[in-house]
């Protein structure tokens, strides 16, 4: 990796396609992507992720606002591929070119020596298939070739659009470890996805957008701790115990179909202590698992309000 760690910045980015009213793809979007971390850029299909990434890379001109790579617009970088590696879609290949041929074209355009082509092919596990035409590649192989292209310049920043698409579970696990190791080297990694669960184990930070607008932005931990955790309580004496819990000001209780109590506003420890004090027998006492995917769906569904 050449140079220091580099942050990405999106500042009040707005992009309207077409004339007049047009299509508002991104609307007043601002966020920062920090070095040494993997940031997930999440949102449903058509929420403006790709447009934002293409603005960051100087391929699309913003209607207003700006995007910066280490404080400068991408178009002003003198050796862009040595700073930012991007894998935008698995389709940017000429089917008649071999993987080696494709990489050698990109290498030539950035003055990167040909020996690096062999290196990146080995890095992504395509060393054997490098001499074959890309037209015969599977989607997973194209994803790996995209990644290889992004890595050619040994960049400090990696921007990957839906890199897990078309990868098998083994490939996804490989990608996860690979991205984690890149971030551990101090690189900035921005990964987009329309499924949170796909990147949940990979990312440190999340930027969630819906219809081109920011919905949530921060660390993954903050996203999960922001949720109201509920405690599930089962007891033969449920009805009486529900009344006792109800006496607590912060707590609220509901009963589900199975007769279990769903308590929010009290921790499992507090409820356990209360049961002990009141001599109530408990059959179950547990905190509900954080279901991040449910939060994500709620945040990004068309009815869901902005958080």
């Amino acid at each position: 990796m050449t140079g220091n760690s580099i942050a990405l910045e999106v500042r009040s980015l707005t992009k309207v396609f077409g004339r007049g009213e047009g299509v508002r793809a991104v609307s007043d979007l601002s966020f920062r992507v920090e070095p040494g971390r993997v940031t997930g850029f999440l949102g449903p299909n058509g929420s403006g992720k790709t447009t934002t990434l293409r603005c960051l890379l100087g391929l699309v001109t913003p209607t207003s606002g700006e995007t910066l790579v280490g404080g400068r617009p991408y178009r002003e970088l003198s050796h862009p591929l040595n700073v930012v590696g991007a894998a935008l879609e698995a389709s940017g290949f000429h089917p008649g070119r071999t993987a080696r041929g494709h990489l050698s074209v990109v290498a030539a355009s950035a003055g990167i020596p040909r020996s690096r082509v062999t290196e990146v092919l080995e890095l992504v596990g395509l060393a054997e298939a490098g001499h074959r035409k890309v037209g015969g590649y599977s989607l997973g192989m194209r994803q790996r070739l995209s990644l290889a292209t992004a890595l050619l310049g040994d960049p400090a920043v990696l921007i990957l659009d839906e890199p897990a698409n078309g990868l098998d579970p083994e490939g996804i696990a490989w990608l996860r470890n690979f991205l984690r190791s890149l971030a551990a080297e101090g690189r900035t990694v921005l990964v987009s996805s329309h499924v949170l669960s796909e990147v949940q184990l990979t990312v440190d930070d999340v930027v969630i957008i819906r219809k081109g607008e920011l919905v949530s932005y921060g660390s993954l931990d903050a996203l999960s701790s922001g949720m109201t955790a509920r405690v599930i309580v089962r007891s033969p004496d449920a009805i009486r115990f529900a009344e006792s819990i109800g006496m607590h000001e912060a707590a609220s209780v509901t009963t589900d179909q199975t007769g279990a109590l769903l308590v929010s506003g009290m921790s499992a420890a507090e409820i356990g202590a209360l049961a002990f004090a009141q001599n109530v027998m408990l059959h179950e006492l547990r905190t509900e698992e954080h279901d991040l995917e449910a939060v994500f769906l709620e945040l990004t569904s068309s009815e869901g309000g902005a958080a």
Partner: protein
């Protein structure tokens, strides 16, 4: 310089250029054979029997490689539209986010490829004309005239390739761009020439004929062609105008 090297590598890493070169050579050979064997026996022409005795006609046989220019136009169109068709334009502009040097590199690379096509096709038409005319009674192939044809083919084919790139960057749909270019070359241009005489000299085809010394078509002398110099300047003018429009639109375009 990197952008230029990348453009050459793009052409060399697919088989398109070789196929088009093969087709263009075959087409040139066909043109020479027709002009040597078929046109002089045509019943349509009054003086067909004497054609091979006319120096300008014999020079036009050597210059008939001009017709292969359509393949150079095609390689320019496919080279440019292919970037959009396969979305390799993304990688191109990621590596060189300042777009005007990319377009200039493309123009230079394709001009060079066009020139190479021109030289090879000229060698084929000159060689084949020499071989097939031997043993026939014919006016001599004049070296100085052939030399002008060689200069013309280099300039003309280089410019046709640039025109192809320009057409391709204006009409990004590969099929549409090819159809429009071929319809222009094989339908619109001949029709205009046939019905509005004075346009012949000012169309790209007429300018190419002028610069290549190709003065006979269908066994008849073409009237009103510009001088070689004027034809060359006109071709350069076409390339500059079309190239300027193309690069202005390409520079602004969002790559989505």
């Amino acid at each position: 310089m990197n952008a230029l090297r990348a453009e050459f590598r793009k052409v060399l890493t697919t088989k398109l250029a070789l196929w088009l070169l093969a087709f263009s050579v075959a087409f040139t050979a066909l043109n020479v054979l027709l002009m040597v064997y078929l046109v002089p026996t045509s019943a349509r022409l009054v003086n067909s029997g004497q054609l091979l005795q006319i120096p300008a006609y014999v020079n036009s046989i050597v210059a008939s490689c001009a017709n292969a220019s359509v393949f150079v136009l095609i390689i320019g169109i496919i080279g440019m539209t292919g970037e959009y068709r396969h979305m390799t334009i993304t990688a191109t502009f990621l590596a060189s986010p300042r777009r005007s040097p990319v377009m200039i590199a493309k123009a230079i690379a394709y001009a060079a490829i066009g020139a190479v096509f021109g030289i090879i096709n000229f060698a084929v038409s000159l060689g084949l004309a020499t071989i097939t005319l031997a043993g026939k009674e014919h006016a001599a192939i004049i070296p100085s005239e052939s030399l002008q044809t060689l200069g013309g083919v280099i300039l003309g084919f280089a410019i046709y390739a640039i025109l192809g790139v320009a057409v391709g960057s204006l009409i990004r749909n590969q099929v549409a761009a090819l159809i429009i270019a071929l319809v222009f070359v094989f339908l619109i241009q001949p029709l205009l020439s046939a019905f509005v005489d004075w346009t012949t000299a000012w169309l790209p085809g007429g300018a190419l004929d002028a610069v290549m010394n190709m003065t006979y078509r269908q066994g008849e002398a073409t009237s009103g062609l510009l001088s070689a110099w004027a034809g060359g300047l006109l071709l350069i003018g076409y390339a500059l105008v079309l190239g300027a429009i193309a690069s202005i639109t390409t520079l602004k375009r969002d790559i989505t």
